[in-house]
């Protein structure tokens, strides 16, 4: 499904080159629920951008569903993001001038779906996250949890194989966080969608079947006992 082989990402800071990702190899199977944890500056965001095809590796190979996307052009990566990946962000990233329904329609516009089908599928996605009665609201008229559920509806509307969530509960209270994480669990268990959550909260990571720790651009293999102690 997702296969990273010796991925390195190097940034030039002035004259100095910094390895943000340092020789990372990782396999995530279809249908997994994975949490990526690590302190800030560890490279976990870069790793997520890499998996999400927003960023290209400096060296190494990234194979997604059998396609080697490491050297894809910007346009090809845009298509992969559109078709195969659903993003959920900490700050929701909804377009403020569009209604919930129009926000959910957005990825389908870029996929070239017809107007009538777009509407049907957007309504269906919003119903799935329990927001049938809030479809015409602008994001400002929605609570944080509702916004995040609109974002989830938007992420799943093109039926992607992977959902990438970057600190999805970071701006939510703990009760709403549980609702959102339950939503992810449901999608993962019922639809078989691969869910990858970047977080620094162990409560969130607890929903995952597997947790990957990143530190200094490398994946750390922690002893099970430490992992257990942190839960």
């Amino acid at each position: 499904m997702i296969q990273l082989e010796s991925i390195t990402k190097t940034y030039l800071l002035g004259k100095e080159s910094v390895n943000v990702l340092d020789n990372i190899s990782l396999i995530i199977e279809q249908g997994e629920f994975v949490a990526i944890m690590g302190p800030s500056g560890s490279g976990k965001s870069t790793l997520m951008n890499m998996i999400g095809c927003l960023d290209k590796p400096t060296t190494g190979t990234y194979t997604l569903s059998g396609e080697n996307v490491s050297h894809y052009s910007d346009n090809e990566l845009a298509r992969v993001r559109n078709q195969s990946i659903g993003f959920v962000f900490q700050q929701f990233h909804l377009l403020p001038r569009l209604s919930a329904l129009k926000n959910v329609e957005l990825p389908m516009i870029y996929a070239g779906v017809s107007k009538s089908e777009r509407q049907t599928r957007a309504v269906e996605a919003l119903r799935k996250v329990g927001l049938s009665d809030r479809m015409d609201h602008l994001p400002n008229a929605l609570s944080g949890g509702q916004k995040q559920r609109v974002a989830i509806a938007r992420a799943i509307v093109n039926k992607p194989k992977i959902i990438l969530a970057d600190e999805p509960t970071g701006a939510l209270d703990s009760k709403t966080s549980i609702d959102i994480m339950e939503q992810f669990r449901e999608l993962n268990e019922e639809e078989g969608v691969t869910v990858i959550v970047v977080t620094h909260e162990s409560e969130v990571a607890a929903y995952a079947n597997r947790t990957i720790y990143v530190r200094d651009g490398m994946i750390q293999l922690l002893p099970a006992s430490i992992k257990g102690a942190s839960e």
């Binding site: 960023d55 559109n82 870029y110 070239g112």
Partner: protein, 397 residues
């Protein structure tokens, strides 16, 4: 992503910043409006000048330009009327000529009771009436029997009514011209054209004029034909004929009004071009305004661009979105500018008294040109938007 969808999206983002959009459009509105005004008034003025000069059309004036030799042998040659009665009869034989308009003008003093005035007295033939619009505001015009019988009747210009009759109706009154009595049968309307001006004028049937002044020669001869092609031939034949009859080389010539009109048309077109270019500069400044505001808009919406890219928008789609947005801005501005230009040109021509010409070419040109401005000045901002890095853009606050 369809054009319509881009258009709707563009409209909604323009609506989100109403004041800003309107102010930006204002530059385009004024620019397009100014160009339309200049072109409309220029074309209207040109059309009006042309009709004023060529008259009802298909006429050519014969004129006499004596050679140096002739002037030396006869110093008084300019005081003599160049066209004789037999000239007119000979011209009448040329088949391309439909009618010959002949007249003779002489300064003369006119007396009514104790008042006197110096006027230009013109004897005209019947064809003159048809070619020159001589609308009477009081009384009647000449009839055929006035011409044939050489009746002692006359038409006077409006100014004469003011000068000689203190504004009272002169119809039916008898004036004295060269001590001969003439009954006034009508007063001519005030001239309205730009080039016409009102002067003291009396018109008499040529027969009458001849007996009063004792001259049967004409000072002015104009030929009329059915088409401009026939007119060309008629003019050449007439000039050749008259030069033969008078044994002159090239003294009788034709004055083609259409050539003069074409010359004047060229002058007005150059004027329109010059003033239009100045108006074009304001359009250019308006375009820079659009570019400026689009750059601001791209910066403000960096995060939106990042989100769209994360959701699968290609760089091309982002570029198109912003291009269409700036094009929509200038297109709406352009359409409003056309209305502004049309309205202003109509008002100006209403008070100036000449037609304003808004042709569909000008309207179409205005629409297309404003769209082109949108694309040209939108290119830089749209390109900037499409080159943004999605990761950086998503982080942008």
């Amino acid at each position: 992503m369809s054009f319509m969808e881009n258009l709707l999206m563009a409209l909604s983002s323009l609506k989100a910043h109403k004041m800003r959009s309107i102010l930006t459009m204002l530059g385009i509105i004024i620019g397009v409006g100014a160009v339309i005004i200049v072109v409309a008034i220029g074309q209207g003025g040109e059309a009006m000048l042309k009709t004023q000069i060529t008259g009802p059309g298909n006429t050519v004036e014969l004129f006499y330009q004596p050679s140096d030799e002739e002037i030396r042998s006869n110093p008084n040659i300019f005081l003599q009327a160049p066209f004789k009665q037999e000239d007119i009869r000979a011209l009448d034989q040329i088949q391309e000529i439909k009618s010959i308009v002949a007249s003779s003008t002489q300064m003369s003093s006119v007396r009514f009771q104790q008042e006197t005035a110096d006027v230009s007295s013109t004897g005209i033939n019947q064809a003159y009436l048809k070619l020159n619009e001589m609308n009477v505001e009081k009384g009647r015009s000449f009839s055929t029997s006035d011409f044939l019988g050489g009746r002692r009747v006359g038409l006077v210009s409006h100014v004469i009514q003011e000068e000689l009759f203190n504004g009272n109706n002169p119809v039916g009154k008898v004036i004295k011209m060269a001590n001969q009595p003439i009954e006034i049968i009508g007063v001519l309307e005030k001239p309205t054209g730009l080039l016409s001006f009102s002067s003291l004028e009396v018109y008499l049937p040529f027969q009458t004029w001849r007996t009063i002044y004792g001259s049967s020669d004409y000072t002015q001869v104009t030929l009329q034909a059915d088409s401009s092609d026939e007119l060309q031939i008629a003019g050449k034949k007439a000039a050749r004929l008259l030069n033969n009859m008078h044994n002159t080389e090239d003294s009788y010539q034709v004055l083609n009004m259409e050539e003069i009109a074409a010359g004047i048309g060229q002058i007005t077109r150059i004027m329109t071009l010059i003033i239009g270019s100045i108006a074009g500069i304001s359009l250019f400044v308006g375009g820079i305004g659009v570019m400026n505001i689009m750059l601001v808009s791209v910066t403000e919406r960096t995060r939106e661009i990042g989100i769209r890219m994360a959701l699968g928008a290609t760089r091309g789609q982002v570029l198109t979105q912003f291009l269409i947005e700036s094009m929509t801005l200038t297109l709406i501005g352009g359409i409003l500018g056309i209305f502004l230009g049309w309205g202003s040109a109509s008002i100006v021509s209403f008070f100036a008294g000449w037609p304003s010409l808004i042709s569909w070419q000008v309207v179409l040109g205005g629409v297309v040109f404003s769209m082109v401005i949108g694309v040209v000045f939108g290119l830089l901002p749209a390109n900037k938007a499409s080159k943004l890095d999605p990761i950086e853009s998503l982080r942008y606050e």
